[in-house]
Amino acid sequence: MVNEDLLAIDYKKDFPLLRELDVAYLDNSATSQRPQCVVDAESEFYLKHNANPLRGLYQLAMEATDGYENARIAVQKFINAKSEEEIIFTRNTSESLNLVAYSYGLSNLQAGDEIVTTIMEHHSNMLPWRMVAAKTGAVVKYIECAQDGSISEAALEEAITSKTKIVAMAQVGNVLGRLNPVEKAIELAHKVGAVAVIDGAQSVPHMPVDVQASDADFLAFSGHKMFGPMGIGVLYGKKKLLKKMPPFLYGGEMINWVSRETQEYAPLPHKFEAGTVNAAGAVGLHAAIDYIQSVGFEVIEAREAALTKIAFEGMQKIEGVHIIGSDKWEEHKGIITFTIEGVHPHDIAAIFDADGVNIRAGNHCAQPLLDHLGTGATARMSLAFYNTVADVERFLASLSTMRERMGYGR
């Protein structure tokens, strides 16, 4: 299918909010919208199958359990994990990363060990590692990116040494939108006996991710950025690692038995899922995965790339607009962060809002990166496959009037 035909397909019809509201929603890196089928799946769980999963011995509770565990299998297949035991449901990417930090990090690191991460990480793939460092005496080392957002192999090779125990990296950065060399990082981590933790929050919704092919040890992502519900997230971990890790949270449903003095923890994956789980959220995520597969990553990637190109080339033509990171549109996976000379990002966001364009302004939970690049606060537009050429044109039209409306060149 050529791009024009591909861009002509109306996917907004699947998304009630986008059908009803006259906005160009371009804040998809923060959270996506949800299609009717996801809302229906979550609602149907509560209307027809609601009981506490994993414990009740009656028909309804078994239905709830099936819904929850089938969602796990859907996630397993989606990222090509070897076993469903390797899929742990959490609330979101942050919780998944914290689980690895508290459980794996605190029990495996000691003074003098190093955790290698990058300067472009979201705070949730940075602060948990600092916590581990503070508690164990390990050191966090940051790989710096070039001004275009690239991380060189040489930088990886220099940073990952025999002292390295954890390498933590986003597959796609949430500010620059650039695909990072995670395969290389994973390979280097394994060479020195370290584990690789991949933040997939911005990649899993937009491209096929295969944990066996990449050989990642851990992969964290959120349901709400991939058209699923808020409050459901995933941690993938290799079975041999998860088996040895202590629980993260303690309580109900994560034990086999408890006596007054001792206990035996439940096997994987339930060892890491204390308390009543978000079964409806998992069922909603299952529906989101089915929906993504019905659209197909081929279509998703092609549409997002085509829209990125139109937006990027349009922005380059507007005086006073500066794009952060690479000057090639191909190196922005649907995310374009920018500044406008003389106009503060919060004013940019407010004026866009008046024109029905929703974008993000501020530090994007990545303050060290913006300090490193020397930009301060910025504005960010981020695409999903359901966006249209009209959305991008509306964004560009508003952007091109921004400086004039703030009093410049009158």
Binding site: H346, A361, A377, M406, G407
Partner: protein, 143 residues
Amino acid sequence: MADNRAFYNEILLDHNMHPGHKHELPDADMEMRGYNPTCGDDITLRLKVADGIVVDGAFTGSGCAISQASADMMLDLVIGKPKEEALRLSDIFLRMIKGSASEEEIDELEEAGALQDVSHMPARVKCAVLGWHTLEQLLEDEE
């Protein structure tokens, strides 16, 4: 937020682009930093006070148009006034942003009254009140 177009009016834009009071103040006798962690607006307010009167004032820093224009309008209003009067006007401004100042009171704020629509923009309230909160803290600390 449909009236944002009107909100970024000439008065606000003029104070943002040409802030008369945005400069250093070497002979200041008090200063305080005001910072909005959520959006990064960051100003330092400096005052010169003699015999209970705000004889001069200036600010430096960076932030959105609302935070910068608001601080500039505030200094336009309070320079030359007794401290108590500056605090009274500041109280009116903060109440205006909360939507509880009368028309007569808002008139007393002169150009700063142009920011009254911020009361309908919850995301921007902190930007508008940054300078004024800093002023209150400075003058109240001194007492």
